[in-house]
Structure formats: C-alpha cells, structure tokens
Symmetry: C2
Subunit: 422 residues, 2 copies
C-alpha cells in the first residue's frame, strides 16, 4: 500500500467507513499559509475553496491571539470576562439595529440549533420553512431541515420546503414566485398543528449554487413571514464576514433584514467558534424559555481568535480585497466562458463565485464535466469543488487574502484544464 | 457602579438577561495556572471546581501543542491528516474492545446528540431512558432528556426517566430497584410507538450527586437493556480521563461495559473538543443511516490539544495523583465531618468528591447551609460549588494536578468556614 492507501485504511478502521473525502485521490495536507496549502510530499496548492481560514491559513495574528490567551486564561462564561463582551459589542456593531445582542457557540450547527429555538421562544410555534436544497448543519434538530436521507424516526412534520431559485434557468425571477411558495408553506404549517415559527435561509443561497438573485428578492417572502408573525433567520455561515466584497453580511447585499443571524465557519479562522446575533428582546425570550449554557461557547480563547479575525479583516482591508480580486477573477472567467459553450454562466460576488457547466443546449446541467474540471484543477495544483442544485457549479471560495495574481493563476489553470478536456 | 456591576450591566445588554453566573458576587477572572486562578484585582483562588482545565489551567505543553499546530495547519477531515488518526488510535486503546472507533465533535453536547443517533441507527428505534436528575447537554435533541423546563412544542414522548440513586438515604441500594425501573421504562417505550433504543447515563451519576453505588450497580439494568436489544451510552464527560483515580473511565469503576461512550469537557483542556467512541459496527451503522460531517470536529489543532492532554496525563502521573490527593482530601473532610453533624457524609472518588449537608436528623437535605459553605469558601479564596438531587452536596472537582498541600488548604478553609457559620 502507498501512503495514501494506508491512511485510508487506518481512517476506515478508526473513523468508520463512508467518511467523505474530497477528490478521487484524497489530499494529505501538512502545512498552510495565506492562500496556499502544501501536501506531505511538498507539493503546493492554491486554495480556492476553504472559507474557514477566512483571513488566510495560519494567519500569524490569529495564531498569536490564540496562544496568548490560551497561555493566560481559558474558562467559561459563568465567570465574568471582558473578552466575550468586547467581541459581541464589536460584532453586533456590524449589524443594523435591533441586532444588538449575541450568544456564542462552538459551531455553526450549534448556532442554528439555538436559532430555531429562539424563533420557537419568540413565536410559541415550531414550524420552519427552508429551501429544498439547503444545509444548515449536523445536529439532530438542524438535520430535520435537510431534504436528504429521512432520519430514523422520520421527519418531524414541522418543516416545509420551498424551491430554491435557479437564475440560469429563470433569469427573470424577481422573487414573486418564491414569495408565493413561502406563503403557501406558511398556510400549510398553520393548518398543521405546528404553526409557523421561522423561515431559515442562507441569504446568498450558497448551497443552492448562489443563483444571481436581485436586491429585493426576498421582499415578498419576508412580507408573508411578517404578516404571519414569523421570524427570518439568516444563516450567514457562508456569505458573512465580508466575503461578498460589497457588504459585510449576505443579507445586506439583497436588502433583507433578518430577526436572527447565525454564524460559524470563518468566525475564528478555524478555531471552533459559532454564534447567534439577534435583538435583545428575542434573546431575552430565548433565555426565559430555554436554559442554555455552552461550556466552551464564548470562552476567552475563542473570543480572542474571533476578535483577531475582525482586526485582520479591518487592518488588511480584506473586504475591499474580496471585492476587487473577485471582480478580476470573474472577468477572467467570463473571458474563458465567452468562447466555451460548456460554461452556462459565471456568477457570484466577492470571493464566492463559480461557473455553471451545461450541455450544448446551454441549459441542461453537466455535472460530469464539472467533476472533471475539479479533478483537472487539482492536477494543476488548484483546490476548488462543486455544488448547487445540479452539482454542476464550480465552488470557488478562497481565503480572503486571495489577490489578483492568484486570480490569474486560477484562470490560467481553468483555461488549461478546459483545453485538456477537449 | 463598581467594575463588577458595570460588567454585569454590559453583559445583560450584550448577552441577554438571566445568563447564569456563579456566586452572589460573580468572579471576574484574569489569569490561570495549574490549580490556581487570579481575579482582576490580583486575588488568588484555589480552583477546586473546574474540570475543563483537566491537566491544569494553561498547561504549557497543551498551549504549546495548540500554538504549534495552529501555526502549521488547521483544516477539516475531508483532507487526510494523521493527527486525528493518531489521536483516535491512542484514545480508543484506553477502552475495552469492541470500543475501537471514534468520531470527533467540538462539544460534549454534540457528542451526545450524535450518540443518540448512533443508537437509533443500530436499533432502528428512538426511545431513550435517562435518570430523573440528569443533564447531557444543550442541543435541542439532547435537551429532551432533561426533566427541567418543558421545551416549546413539548417533550417528544420518547424519553422515560428512572429515579437516580441516593446512597445517603438508601445505603443498601445494590441496583436491583434501578434495574426494575429500567425494565419498566423499556416496557413503556415498547408499548409506545417509539421502541427502546438506549439507556444514557453518567456512570458516576455526577449531576445526581455522585451517590456511592457499588460495583455491579448497573448489572440488572444493563441485563434488561441487552434483553431488549438496546444500547448503553455512557456519558463520560465528567468522570472520564482518569479523574476518578482508580480507573481511566467511570464505567470501568462500576464494571459496566457501554456500547457508546461520549466525551467532552476535559478532553482538550479547554480547547473545544468532544467525541464519541463506539464499536466499528455501530459507527458503520451510524455513517450509513446519517450523513454526518463536522467542519471543526477532529481538526488538526483540536487533535493536537487532545493528544497533549493524554501525554501530560501519562508523563505527570495525574491519574495516580487524583487517587492519592483525592483520598487524602476525603480523609481530611471525614475528620471534619466526624465532629460536625451538618455533614451527612463525605463521598466521591479520585478528584471528584464532596460532602452532603443535612439537618439534625442526618437525612433531611440542607441546601441552605451548603450554599452558605460555597460562599464562605469563596470568601476564603477557594472555588467550589454544589450539586445533586437535593442541591446540598459540595461539588469538588479540581484540575488533576491538585496535590496533597492543596487538599490541606481546602480542608482548612472548610473547617474555618463551618466554624464561622457556627
């Protein structure tokens, strides 16, 4: 057995079968720095995929903040500590009022698990609406939002799914049909015993393939939500923290105001931190209805890591960089697409973008070509992946220090990959 | 407003009202080292409470492991990395076969949330049995095990509670009645549509007040569980990792073999790490029935922190220290109890012990005196708390480097506190 095969065998024995890896031949990584990763054979990869190392792999300021605080004090929130207060104050200042209060967890899954209960506490009801291609995390409660495998014991009957937007196939979609679908789902939940509690969405529809929806897309849906006395939970785990370039939060970009926002992956640059931001009133309702304490949530080290991420974002101008580098990368990709009919369109915002692969009619999804492109890019030292309703859209979501030069490398590798595929 | 009042006001505004703190006047901590904590006014406290900093606050080897790996690579398990394999191999070697496989999470709550689904996957059923004074974590699914506030939407009907042991009031309890209660709960779940999936217990009955149950206490209950085709989940979040001195795991101490073990708090000495250990067969069933991926779970930094904890445990002989220091501390406490009728008994194992406060009949719980003792100890610079069925038992659970000298300080402060209370 080679090294990789031996590792895969150990992994199956110790971690169980069927644990997903990326790529036909999984990567065995050893080191990361900025937008670069190295495998154990010393091969270097341009990371165009990982959003967790938001300000760059192993950013020295985040590492230093973790080390300093881990060597000073790491304890829980039943003692007083300014770290969590300073962080939540700074974090909530990036939101519009009344989103001025927060609760810290260790993962985005925990954040969504809490957000659903906040909406229950605020409305007294339990029904939830999500899109038909969503993913909000891995706890038992949050998994109920998925349309994938039915859990043992079945779905709880309190979730309704609405069709995700598909901007390549319905470019005129302004959100009216989405609003009607949400309205029908609310009516269905009200008829059931569950009642309507919340609409939960990624405001960038990231897992759905980040369709290019216009500002105001959610207006009709959110009007229906408000009329029914329900809440809007914006899952900002993927689009948040400046990734989209133009706005710090995905919901601001489409002009939608959430009642509850959930945070995860990029928040601590890889340190396990998640959180929920909401109004003081909703947080008070939650704390009254559910006793909640999270041992590691909001500990001084997690807060130091999360604070360092905000510091670096600001000092290195990473949101502006996301806007500029993303625009340049998309322009390069559009130039390739102009002469390659396999690419249906190039879309995205800031440093979260991609290209959808289609057959000759320009519409029928071509996930096979997309999969070949992912492997071809890997062979050229570029890490990315695919996602979306049809699994035919490249998922390009690099750490935010990704610059113009790296965008050029990405475009050159893509052109070369497409040439080689013929 | 004084500093503490100002902090409490900021805290209520930013984190919501009703967020629990310890003590009438909460502590504002700044620094930790070994078994000591310092507040922002430079006052030093002997930490007899915190089990999260398992090998001592800010242990330099754990801090160094975190810093080194955080500065090298921090990514997720869809790439291959030896850190998680080496750790799970070393961890599972501390268990009896067939507990040879593991899954890593970020918190004990996530671990229990997964464990319940593992039992569902292995049995195809959803009913769960827990004690009537238990706590297994904060996710929506795990909160269903609690007997405290009914959640919005109600309890799911799939949980049965059995009475927790109370060794002061029923010293002859060998587990037969507990076994019958579990048997009745199984029958009740089988009659309902849910069926019986798992019995979940802390094998030290920590939150129940760590009653002094004999080896074999769970034999009758576990025989009933096996007959019904159910599983036993041992929640080792509190008693595990050598804390009890005589055994590395709480279930070994009472001679009970679990099918699934859950881990949390002490695992990474404060770094957010949790985990589930089970047989390869059960893990395979889980992976088949539920797709599960945890972005931060098992990342290289978490594994480095957790591995360093095992290294320090071994190199510093901390399990043996827990046994010796704990025995010495209990002997000192028993000497105090011998002449103080307010103490019903002193009990515990290793570095998880306490004393139960009672009224003059020697039986009726006296939570008020226990609460006064907690405050009196704090005034003398000793941090501990109370717990149990009647909230009248001191909870003494220090970091494992707690030595004989610290046990003497604890005993002297307790004697002084009791004298002062008159």
């Amino acid at each position: 057995m080679t090294g990789i095969d031996a590792l895969l065998a150990r992994r199956e024995a110790l971690l169980g079968p069927g644990m997903a890896t990326f790529y036909r031949r999984p990567l065995h990584l050893e080191r990361g720095e900025g937008v670069w990763l190295w495998d154990t054979e010393g091969r270097r990869y341009l990371d165009c995929y990982n959003n967790v190392p938001h300000v760059g792999h192993c950013h020295p300021r985040v590492v230093e903040a973790i080390c300093r605080q881990a060597g000073t004090l790491n304890t829980h929130t039943r003692y007083l500590h300014e770290g969590i207060l300073d962080y939540v104050e700074r974090l909530t200042a990036t939101f519009a009022a009344p989103l001025r209060a927060g609760l810290l967890t260790c993962t985005g899954s925990e954040a969504n698990d809490v957000a659903l209960r906040m909406a229950q506490a605020a409305t007294g009801r339990t029904g939830v609406i999500a899109t038909d291609h969503t993913y909000h995390g891995n706890t038992a409660a949050v998994s109920q939002l998925s349309t994938r495998m039915p859990p043992i014991g079945g779905f709880g009957g309190h979730v309704r799914h609405v069709p995700a937007p598909d901007s390549l196939r319905d470019p005129e979609d302004g959100g009216a049909a989405f609003g009607r679908a949400v309205e029908a789902a609310i009516a269905s939940l009200e008829e059931s015993g569950h009642g309507f509690s919340a609409l939960i969405l990624c405001p960038y529809f990231a897992n759905e393939g980040f369709p290019a929806v216009p500002e105001g897309y959610l207006d009709a849906a959110l009007a229906a939500v408000r009329r029914a006395g329900g809440l809007f939970i914006a899952d900002e785990v993927q689009p948040g923290f400046g990734r989209l370039g133009s706005h710090f939060w995905g919901h601001r970009r489409i002009g939608a105001q959430p009642d509850i926002v959930t945070l995860g992956k990029p928040m601590g640059n890889g340190h396990p931190v998640g959180g929920v931001v909401t109004s003081p009133e909703i947080l008070a309702e939650f704390r009254k209805a559910f006793r909640y304490f999270n041992t590691f949530g909001g500990n001084p080290v997690s807060c130091a890591a999360a604070m360092a991420v905000l510091d670096v974002m600001e000092d290195e101008g990473l949101m502006a960089n996301a806007e500029a580098s993303g625009a340049h990368a998309r322009a390069r990709l559009e130039a390739i697409a102009a002469s390659d009919p396999r690419i249906g369109n190039v879309r995205g915002a800031g440093l979260f973008f991609g290209a959808e692969f289609v057959h000759e009619d320009g519409i029928t999804p071509d996930p096979e070509t997309c999969a070949e492109v992912v492997e071809g890019m890997l062979a050229r030292g570029v890490i990315l992946n695919r996602l979306g309703l049809h699994m035919n859209t490249l998922k390009i979501r690099p750490p935010l220090p990704f610059g113009r030069a790296e965008a050029d490398l990405l475009a050159e590798a893509l052109a070369d990959t497409l040439d080689a595929l013929g």
